[in-house]
Amino acid sequence: MSIERRTFLKAIGVLGVGSLSGCNQAPTDKLHAYLTPPEDVIPGVAGFYATICRACPAGCGLWVKTREARPIKLEGNPRHPVSRGALCPRGQAFIQSLYGRHRIAEPLMRVQDRLQPVPWAEAVDALAGRLAKASSVTFLSGAESGSFETVRGDFLSRFPRSRALEYEPLGMTSQAAAASLLFGRSEVPWLDLRRTHYVLSLGADLLDAWISPVHLAAEWAERHSIQNQRALRLDYAGPRRNLTATAADRWIPLPPARMGALALALAHELFLRRRDSLAPEQADLLGKALARLGPRPAAPPLEEGLWKSVLGPLTEKPGAVILYGGAECRTAEATAVHAAVLLLNLLTGAIGSSLLFDAGYVYSKLHSEKKVADAIDAAAQGATDVLLVHGCNPAGTLPASLEIPSRLGKAATVVAMAYEHSETTAAADFVLPVHHPLESWGDYDVTRTICGLMQPVRAPLYKTRMAGDLLIELSRKTGKPLAHPDYKSYVTARWAAMAASQNSQEWEKMLIDGGRFAAPAPPSRPVELIDGGLDRLPAISLETASGAGCTLLAPMTALRFDGRSRTQDWLWEVPDPVLQTAWDLPVEIAADLARQHGIADGDLVSLKGRSGAVTGLAVVCPDLCAGTAALPFGGGSAPGPEENPNPDVLRLLPPVFDPLSGELALVATGIEAAKAGTGTLARTQASSYSDDRYLCLAMDLADAQAGRYPRMVRHGEIPASEAAADHGAAVPMPADDLNQRHPHDAVHELPDHPEHRWGMTVDLDRCTGCGACIVACYAENNVPVVGREEIIRRRDLAWLRIEKHIVRHGRGQQVRWLPVMCQHCTNAPCEIVCPAFATQHTPEGLNSQIYNRCVGTRYCANNCPYKVRRFNFFDYAREVPANEQLNPDVTVRPRGVMEKCSLCIQRIREVTNRAKAESRPVREGEILPACVQTCPTGALTFGDFRQESWRATRLAADPRGYRLLDYVVNTRPGIVYLRKVNTYPAPPGA
């Protein structure tokens, strides 16, 4: 017998595969047990610890979910009055900075003009040596309060000349300056929207990233909701159609330069109407202040109808709130506009009811960009011996034209205390790595009465120290020990003094609650105009300067903020809701500019200003005010996405400051835009127009209030208009479904749901499109980050996306958000095409995806009308230590399998298991999928549609409800959408 060579090879191949498959031995893992059991850790059971989010100055409370002493997920602390259980996208992504690859692992010291790793002792000794000789020390930090203020004060008090500066790129220093001139109080009032009926926002993007986005979005949603009969209405006047503009009842396109004129006109108008009801002395002062700010315009700055409808709610009831101060409208006359707006608030009566002075709001004590730049200048000129920088990044947040890095290089000694590399650490002489806030003790007082307590939630990952401990050690080394031996003692001493009683239970209660909270009290003395600073009020320029070139805005968006979160990949992978671009930070170009320069979406555009130039990808925005370009904060190259450095707006901003407050102007004029080539945008949504499909529906408030709900359309019937695009709000339970049989149903046996029918409602009226749910989903479900190139190939793995829909609305257009996750169809198209039975309808109503059965045919994704199924084209390895963030309860999917939203099956299973172990039914509100848990506005509600009393079931039966595409494809989803309600009818016209 002879064997051919080819036959032999084949036989070897078959036998080889067979024998290898037999070698699939279980890996020999090691199991490690504790030597001594920690008190509160049960392996396999998650623990939650309260602390504070430090991703922005808002100071939301956190609940950190830990497994086996490793933090894996951040959730909002429901007891903290700022976050109330919710978090914004940056808060959700904050945990990525703990495990990020930009962490500083060991101390660095500048030796021969290069930063080199040194042992801690050497770095501390060298620095202590310089501090011992220093007489002038400046401490520059981000917003800090509580114990850190104390230890910093103790540390600085040992030097003859010392000062502490606190700086945030989104500070409200102009508002404080205006309040100081008018009322003699240099502070930023605490904002409470629960008592007002109307908010007119002049560029204050309170639903994007403005001073306290979670808190303001929650208060807005609660009062604005249809359940609350639109108790609060919001009009947004601003240059960009951002999240606030789309969620507001009306968006009034208004360039930043005209905001002062509008505020002044409104203030004059209200003053005329209210003058007689004011105390005569106050009326005189008000008149004087208004006269300083400018004359009453001859004609109102808005068109007649709009002017009246804005003036209406301002005058008809006291308490209307006018806000100003977002990044995209911060001009060099911000103090003057703030003064006009504060006068307006005084006239409406909002000061004292919604704007609370004397609260000790953390924004009140911030210092302006000018002061910071001057302090760095002083250090560069040798007037300061040691400049310590902690918790802020002046070199990466101030305009490049100020040349902060080179000035820091000239300074005698610059010490950067940071947990991540940044432009500032690169320019420092000493880089002292500090604990991440999640590894530190501390506290953060948002106001005098809202005091948050921070506790470490894991052992330090690297050779870092707590910033407070570092100051204490440096003091000790210079021979001047501080009051307490370590920073934790500072914290415990302060909180012991604050506690009602001195037993240990009180301390534990504060740790569990995450702090001590009370509503800010009304001010002890009334807020009144005083005659001290009125003469120094500047005039508001009423003429819009028309020069060459376009106007550049520098917004701070919900995902980017001031750029400090740019090291967190989730925030790049999740597309910007307004532009639907991921990883790219495009230049937004107004339609007229685009026409003028021949720029189209995806072109490279160069922007040139007096102080620099950048090149970036362009997105043409028809919604941007004419002659305007916008480039959000958060670009720049280091550190950030390495593959695609984004244009940095700081290269364009000229060093122009508000003369009174020293606040940096973020609106630049005279910018030359030009086409510079073509490129490719990484977009996740190709089109925002749904053509003849009815996907993202709305109705008018008048109809909702009158009970005129859209007619029910049966399965298969094509609706005649948006108003009819609905097949009613039948709860997708078997009984209902059987009553409405579709001809196609003859071939399907509809499943029964004997015990539960899990489902969700999405209230489009509350959704602001912020994207917190998407980031939460990434964190909870181990969704990999695929990167820019894969997103261009449409291979992103997001389980939940927020679609942007542009819908014709009378004369204009309306932008609506539609969160789309797996619809968990009762009659699912994906299930019937799977050859491996990898996706099935469970008796609890979920469409389950079983990764180990999946063979990757992708038939299901092709047959899914919602395009929510995602395919793993690669194995996405997690770097060490980022793998520690993985949720152990969720399978990490390998290459070649399909994945999709599971409605957080692991959370459902955990609660049902617990309920069964305790022999009780599942309680309402016990199961919260990650997206529902984090939604600041409460747009998502999860529940069991078999429980008629549950909120989700009641909402699903709301006549606003509809199910996505069901009228065409008869899928009977378990997700019920509730229509957006338009407060105002569409403006007449084609």
Partner: protein, 196 residues
């Protein structure tokens, strides 16, 4: 062959004995798989500890860092499983005994035994004992011990007669083993009951 074509035509691919031989091998393999899939789980359960086919055929007795005997502790000393694996009723994982718990007894009982000295050395060094994992189920399986204990599934039903064994061999759980029991006891049979 009288072809005018100068290129020799290859012979039949499965000519000679190779074809039947490979076919026989293939059938043998299929037969073994069918046997393993349908017959083996039941057989394995009857034999208690001997669960995995691979383990029966090739399974090594695992070398553990400390020569711990379950037979001695459970059968001779009558210690309950849950004394050393305490979290079974409140956690998905029953947990391993901490060194502190082991030494709670062994500081008094045979404290100078060479294996106990090893344990003391680990405790003194502050390193955990690197026990080699015995029972293995894949990552995509979620097995909550507390649910099974609540339903009064005895430990031995899955783990075999541990109490009769000195040195455990590595065991891999396969789905057929789980499914058979779930069918018998009318436990949830949906995929997402175990896979998430």
């Amino acid at each position: 062959m009288t072809s005018v074509n100068p290129v020799p035509t290859p012979r039949r691919l499965w000519g000679g004995w190779a074809g039947p031989l490979l076919l026989a091998l293939f059938l043998l393999a299929v037969g073994a798989m069918l046997l393993g899939f349908f017959y083996y789980p039941g057989l394995a359960r009857q034999h208690g500890r001997q669960i995995a086919f691979q383990e029966v055929m090739f399974g090594p007795k695992l070398e553990q860092p400390i020569a711990f005997s379950h037979r001695l502790h459970v059968t001779d000393k009558q210690i309950d499983c849950a004394y050393c694996h305490p979290n079974g009723e409140r956690s998905p994982h029953p947990g391993l005994p901490t060194a502190e718990k082991c030494l709670g007894c062994h500081n008094h009982i045979i404290p100078q035994h060479q294996e106990i000295l090893k344990l003391k050395q680990f405790a003194a060094d502050g390193t955990s004992v690197p026990w080699v994992r015995v029972y293995y189920s894949p990552d995509h399986v979620y097995f909550p011990h507390f649910r099974h204990l609540k339903k009064e599934v005895r430990c031995q039903e899955c783990h075999g007669e541990v109490e009769k064994t000195d040195r455990l061999s590595q065991v891999t759980f396969y789905m057929g083993f789980c499914v058979q029991c779930h069918q018998e006891r009318q436990a949830p049979m949906t995929c997402s009951a175990c896979h998430q």
